[in-house]
Amino acid sequence: MAQAWLSREWLQRNINTIIPIMGFIALVIALRMANPYFLTSWDSVITLVYGMSWFLIAACGLTLVILMGSFDFSVPSVLKLSAMIFAVLYPSMGFSSIIVAIVVGLIFGFINGILLARFNIPSFMATLATSMVAEGLAQVISGGYTRMITDPAFRAVSTTMILGLPSIFYWAIVVWVICIFMTFMTPFGRMIYAVGSNIVGARLAGVNVKMVRTLVFMICSLLASIAGILYASQIQGAHMQVGVLDMIPLFASVVVGGTALTGGVGGVHRTLLGVLIIRWLDSGLSMLAIDLNVRMIIFGAIAITMAILTIDRRRIRIMK
C-alpha cells in the first residue's frame, strides 16, 4: 500500500475521496464569491441544517442499499407515504401514529427485500413498482391535499433549539453515527460489504445473503419513514410535492460522497459530505434564481459523472 503521495496509483486509488473533498472546498469558495452573505450569519447555518437533516437520514438508508450493490427507488415515496400517514392519523391518534407510519415503512422495506431476495427480481424494477404503489397509497389516503399538523408539541420534535441548532440536526447525526457504527463495528455491517463486493464469495463464506438483503432493505425503508416523520414535523404537515423526483438529488448525494454503484466500495460516513455538497449547491443555485429544472439537470449530470468516476472497473467482468 505504500504508494508515493500524489502518484498516479495513489490518485486512482483515492479518487472517490479526493473528488468530494475538492468539490466541497470549491463549492464553498464559489458560493462565497457568488453570495457574500453565505454562511455569515447563524440564521443561514440553521436554514442549511433544516434543509439537509431529513435528507441525510434518507440518504444513509440509500447508501446502505447501494453498498450492497442494489438500488432502492422507493426511498422518497416511502418517505412521503409515512409523512402522509402520520399527518392524517395524528389528529385522532396522537404520537402513537408514529408506530403506524414506521410499520408501513417496514412493510414496504420487507416487500422490497423479499422481491429481490426470494423472487430474484432486479431491485430497481421491484422498487420502482413499490414506489408507484406507495405514491398511489399516499394519494389515496390524503385525497391529494396537503395535510397540516398545527400541534406545537409535534413541531417541537424537530425544532427545539439545543446549543443553537435545531433538534432535527441531532436526530440526523445520531442516525448517521449509528449507521457508521453498524457498518464498521458489527458482523452485520461487514456482511453488507461482503454481499456488495462479491455475492458468490459471501454465499460460500456462509453469509445468509437473502437475510442480509431483506434486512438492509427494511433498514433503508425504516430510515425513510423516520426521515418522513421528522420532515413532517419540520414543515408542520405533509404534502404531495416530495416524490420520485427527489430521487435525483438523493442518489446524487450518495454517489458524490464516493460510494460506488457497483457495491462494496464507500460507506455511510462519506454520505455526510455528499449531502452537504448537494444541499449547499441546491441552496446556492436557488439563491442565484436558477430554475428548478436546471438544478435537477445539474444534479443528474453530477450523479452520472461521479458514478462513472467511482466505479471499480477491475472487479466487474459483465455489466448489465
Binding site: 404503489v133 443528474g300 448489465k320
Partner: protein, 330 residues
C-alpha cells in the same frame, strides 16, 4: 418457380410462428380472458366503436414506448431513456419548426439514434449500470423539456402544422396506429430476419459464451442501444400525433412504468436471453386492455392511477420472476 417455393416457405414460417406464439405466450390467454371479462361486465361501453378505436390508439402509444427497449432487455440490460427521447424530441421539433418547416419531424429519429448511441457507448465503455445511466438521461431530458416550456413562456409545445397527420385515410383505424405499424414491422423484421435478434439473445443468455463464439459483444451491445433509441424516436412520432401534435412537458413516472410493464407483461424476462418485440406487442395489448376496461368499471377512480399501475407492475414482475431463478441479480 423459385418465388412460389419461397412464398410457400415464408407462409409456413409465419403459420408456425403464429402457432408457437399462442402456445408459449400466456399473454395471449390473458388478452382473451380480459376481452371476455370486460365484454361480460360492461358490454355496451367496452364493445362500442369509439372504445375499440381508443384501444387501438392506446395500443399504438404503449407499444411505441416498449418495442425499442425490448432489444436492450434481450441483452439483460435495461433502457428507460424512451421517456426522455419522446419528451425532448418533441421539444426539438417545436424548436426547429420555424427553421425547417415540416421536415423538422425528422429530428425525432435522429435524436433518438443519438441518445441511443450515447447510452450504448457510455454503458459499454465506461461500464455504468444501464438502468442508472438511462434513468438519469431520461430525467435530464425531461427536465430540459420542462425548462424549454418555461423559458419560452407558452403552455404547450404544440405544432399545429402537423394536424393533417391526425386525419386517418382509413375509417375507424386511427392515424397513430397507422404511424406505429411501420415501426412494429421494422422491429419484427430485425428480430426475425436479421442476425441481430439471434445475437442479442445469445449475449443475453450467456455473455461469456457469446464472446467465445466470436460475437463482438461490445459492438452488438452498442448496436442494441442505438436501435432502441432509433425505434423509440420513430415511434415517438405516433405518440406526438396521438397527443395532438405536441409532447409531454412534465415528467410522470406512471408513463415511465407503461413501457416497462408492457415488456414484462409480454413475457420478455428481465435477465434477457429470450422473448422479443412480438411478445412486447402482446404485453402492450394486455396493458391497454386492463386500463381501458378498468376505468369503464363503476367506482374506479382515475386519480388513483398510480396505485393501479404500481400494483400491476408488481404483479407482473412477480409473475414473470420464475424465469429469473438462479440468475445473479443486483
Amino acid at each position: 418457380m423459385k418465388s412460389e417455393v419461397e412464398r410457400l416457405k415464408i407462409g409456413s414460417v409465419i403459420a408456425a410462428s403464429i402457432w408457437r406464439l399462442v402456445k408459449v405466450n400466456p399473454a395471449v390467454w390473458a388478452i382473451v380472458a380480459l376481452v371476455v371479462i370486460f365484454s361480460a361486465l360492461v358490454p355496451d361501453k367496452f364493445l362500442s366503436t369509439s372504445n375499440l378505436v381508443a384501444i387501438l390508439k392506446n395500443f399504438a402509444v404503449t407499444s411505441m414506448l416498449a418495442v425499442g427497449p425490448t432489444f436492450v432487455i434481450l441483452l439483460g440490460s435495461i433502457d428507460v431513456s424512451y421517456m426522455g427521447i419522446w419528451m425532448f424530441g418533441g421539444a426539438l421539433v417545436w424548436l426547429l419548426y420555424p427553421y425547417l418547416g415540416l421536415a423538422s419531424i425528422a429530428i425525432y429519429p435522429i435524436f433518438g439514434l443519438l441518445v441511443g448511441l450515447f447510452n450504448g457507448v457510455v454503458h459499454v465503455k465506461a461500464k455504468v449500470p444501464s438502468f442508472i445511466l438511462t434513468i438519469a438521461v431520461t430525467a435530464v431530458l425531461a427536465f430540459l423539456t420542462t425548462y424549454v416550456r418555461n423559458i419560452s413562456g407558452v403552455l404547450t409545445l404544440i405544432v399545429p402544422a402537423y394536424n393533417f397527420l391526425r386525419e386517418s385515410p382509413i375509417p375507424y383505424i386511427p392515424s397513430p396506429f397507422l404511424l406505429a405499424l411501420p415501426v412494429i414491422v421494422l422491429a419484427l423484421f430485425i428480430m426475425f430476419f436479421t442476425k441481430l435478434g439471434t445475437y442479442f439473445c445469445a449475449i443475453g443468455s450467456n455473455e461469456e459464451g457469446a464472446k467465445l463464439a466470436g460475437i463482438n459483444v461490445e459492438k452488438y451491445k452498442i448496436l442494441a442501444f442505438t436501435l432502441s433509441g432509433l425505434l423509440t424516436g420513430l415511434g415517438s412520432i405516433a405518440i406526438f400525433v396521438h397527443l395532438g401534435c405536441q409532447t409531454r412537458v412534465d415528467f410522470d413516472p406512471s408513463e415511465l412504468v407503461r413501457g416497462l410493464a408492457a415488456i414484462v407483461l409480454g413475457g420478455t424476462p428481465l435477465a434477457g436471453g429470450m422473448g422479443g418485440p412480438h411478445r412486447t406487442l402482446l404485453g402492450a395489448l394486455v396493458y391497454v386492455l386492463i386500463f381501458n376496461g378498468l376505468f369503464l368499471l363503476p367506482g374506479v377512480d382515475p386519480n388513483h392511477l398510480k396505485l393501479y399501475v404500481g400494483t400491476l407492475l408488481l404483479g407482473a414482475v412477480i409473475a414473470a420472476s420464475r424465469a429469473l431463478k438462479g440468475a445473479l441479480i443486483a
